[in-house]
Assembly symmetry: D2
Homo-oligomer: 271 residues x 4
């Protein structure tokens, strides 16, 4: 678990330390629920029960600390998860390395037409080449200028680091220690590993999923069944399913759902 998993072109995730495992979760649950846990015979059954019924506190009993190297625009999404501890490399004190994220050609995607948030098909030919050229030359020039502004040799004063850094693009890599409990980590992996998440943060969430499968295999399997592959079905949607299972043909008009909801509902049933 402790080796560095490569992510994107220059990033990585490495486990620094952890506390607890599947056993620590059932240990905590058995204290909380006491006799209530006797009817669930084994650890796997208990963990699956806890996950299914969203009894989240036993999962908070495990903790893990990562060393992560990631582009700043990914760090900005990541930090929105507030229930975690962070120590980031400070560009006020230190000088950032010459490392920038440049997407692989298949990730150089168009703005999606149907989804304001997502990506469409990859750019092609000259347009793709031009975008890659912009990304590469702009970041190289920005780093040259960063060094030039910091330079305090030969009679120059040198701009302060805290100011010089602001000219670097958001594709520059930073790094941090990030520590969180297992419950919040699963939430992170769920949200950021989702198909609607930006590819670049999903790449990190996917690696975390693999680390979780090693570290807490029972919990991670339960997570896949009851979170990752689960759907939240609204009251009206559940009502429709009951009617459909009873043989009724239900249309959107009779469903109590808007057109958009109905479309989402159909996608769930067929996927």
């Amino acid at each position: 678990m402790y080796f560095a998993h490569e992510v994107l072109d220059h990033g990585f995730i490495r486990v620094i330390d952890y506390m607890g495992d599947d056993g620590a979760i059932t240990q905590a649950a058995r204290v909380s629920y006491g006799k209530g846990t006797r009817s669930v015979q084994n650890d796997a059954g208990l963990i699956r029960y806890l996950m299914r019924h969203q009894h989240t506190t036993p999962f908070e009993m495990c903790e893990v600390k990562f060393h992560v190297k990631l582009p700043i625009f990914v760090a900005r999404q990541w930090i929105r998860h507030r229930t975690a501890n962070v120590n980031e490399y400070s560009a006020r004190y230190s000088i950032l390395d010459r490392e920038f994220y440049v997407p692989a050609p298949e990730q150089l995607a168009a703005q999606s037409r149907s989804n304001n948030q997502g990506r469409g098909t990859p750019l092609q030919g000259e347009e793709a080449a031009r975008v890659l050229e912009i990304l590469k030359t702009d970041s190289a020039r920005a780093y040259d200028h960063y060094e030039e502004m910091l330079d305090d040799r030969g009679g120059k004063t040198g701009l302060s680091r805290e100011l010089a850094r602001m000219n670097l693009p958001a594709s520059v890599y930073t790094q941090w220690y990030w520590k969180t409990d297992l419950h919040n980590l699963l939430h992170f992996v769920h949200l950021r590993g989702d198909s609607h998440a930006q590819y670049e943060i999903r790449a990190f969430a996917d690696v975390m999923g693999k680390i979780l499968a090693d570290w807490v295999p029972i919990t991670y399997a339960a997570f896949e069944d009851y979170r990752k592959h689960a759907v939240l079905l609204s009251g009206p949607a559940l009502d429709c399913i009951r009617r459909m299972l009873a043989g009724e043909v239900v249309t959107q008009d009779e469903s109590g759902m808007s057109k958009r909801e109905w479309r989402e509902f159909q996608a769930i049933l067929k996927a």
Copy 2:
């Protein structure tokens, strides 16, 4: 570190697991502050610098989990520290043990006259004996009644556990797993180990202090100098000290402080 430390008459604190140590703090600080930490040669110097300047995030990189047995009225104060993970023994599912806190005679204190919050001198003679008699017989009777209400034998139905428990006094013992990071634990030890804290929670905070001195000795020594034995000196108070050190005799009238503040200031200077 893993053995149970006895606290009060039936309570204990036991470390279940921990993550990190003094070295993990400096490791995180050196990532954050980079070159900024070079001038501080050794780990002890760096930890003392971080503590003195309230750079708190590196201390969040350590985590510890305790198993604690404590009276409910102590648990109610303790739980006010929100940045922690808790799994408590649930009296909805399980039956509480016949264990109640009864103070030692020297802790059977009068209401303080000067301090609305604190304790005065211990009760004496008949009054003390009467109080102890009340505490012992009431808790014994409450537990007898608890068992009687739960009893579902001999044709009786038995009251639900979640209701029966509400007749037990707040001196009954509960237990929980409590997990927190080192920064928040130091804050807990600082507030709850303070002379204004209620004796019964202070007894737990003091044991935690001893555990900390074993686990993170450099950090704990820094905590003693820069938190436990430190004082927050207001702007006006600092101004008075400067004038006094310059030879001026400052009175309360000329201090810019209220009578109460002045009294507190005098206590700081003389203690």
Copy 3:
């Protein structure tokens, strides 16, 4: 909204202040999602979209502060919701009132046989009468003793308040100011208004539901559809539904679910 809603025998909930409304949620969402919100024409559609897709941060833009009077055993469950601000009446400084929760006869429930957590049918006849007698006489006696221990007249010293309180049962009423954001309040109402929650805290959650229906009617209606009446369907359960809708007869053996999960799944389909 500002009048006191009575809850249980001596409790209440009163809104002290609030900030924001349905409009504040869409205002924040339109800043966050910008052009992404244009396709959703109106506020109700946007709020329902946010709730359905668990975009929770816009709901955090509303805040509300309650004054609540509640029994201590309810307060102990309530305080587990950590993302809130609390100022509780302190029995270290002040003297508690002679007010105890005594359940109405129809709430004097037996321990459930099928559910370790819940309540079964109400106690009857002599057993019910005996339980009520215990609850009433024990709390009356405890309060008499509380006053006796505190008494500092006629040559007595008087026990400190912080100690005397610990002899009172968990059915005694306390009060607090409790302030939280709308997202966390909805989570509270969801968990504590659930049929598995203890009746006494559910009584408070239900009143909050009514307050929410007044304060943020669009949000509350969306909450009912997408949280309160919604179900989380696991991957295997969703797969079964697809097969059943395709005409297949699925049994527990072929479902990939345990017996317990299958029973829960059947209950969802029929309820």
Copy 4:
């Protein structure tokens, strides 16, 4: 309070809504501390008492929501304050404006020689001119390229917004709604208004200070005395002061402090 306060070259802070005031703090404190607050006659005395003794929960009873426009490198420091609610303009959905922070000449500071974190004297002459030229031309070019990469007219596909944004420098402006309670806001103003904070975030903290002086004047005055102008004096430093006030001449050697601490101590006494 509701008008936009200009900050830096294109930024602003505007209060959108707030809840509570000085009176709400004393109202909460009087519930918590009950009789304990009687001896403090008036609201100002009580608020000063609470601030002095770090009774922080009553200050959490006030809440405020801001609309802020700020450069991304400032936003990255700001977001480290986790106890707040945020809705940020999303550059995945929307297109950022052509607005970049360019420091005023007097803020174009050199790296401090004595302090790894801070700024030294402003750059002069050609060096200053060259830095300004770099900042202006690089940001203008980056925005031109941003528009070029997004362009989907004339047979072009257009890069997705979520990717195109990563080529923009950290000096580009973003905006958000930011909501927090008064206790956490004071902490923010204390840390980010400190002389060691980066000038650009200090500019925002200073405006917040002015807003606070309008909104909660008693609280803000207490904050100035007991936080802003206060110092945390270590145990050894307090001991030195006592000895010095008793007429002793104390040297660093006899102080129990390191050279660095002694220097900091001398600075406190003389400032």
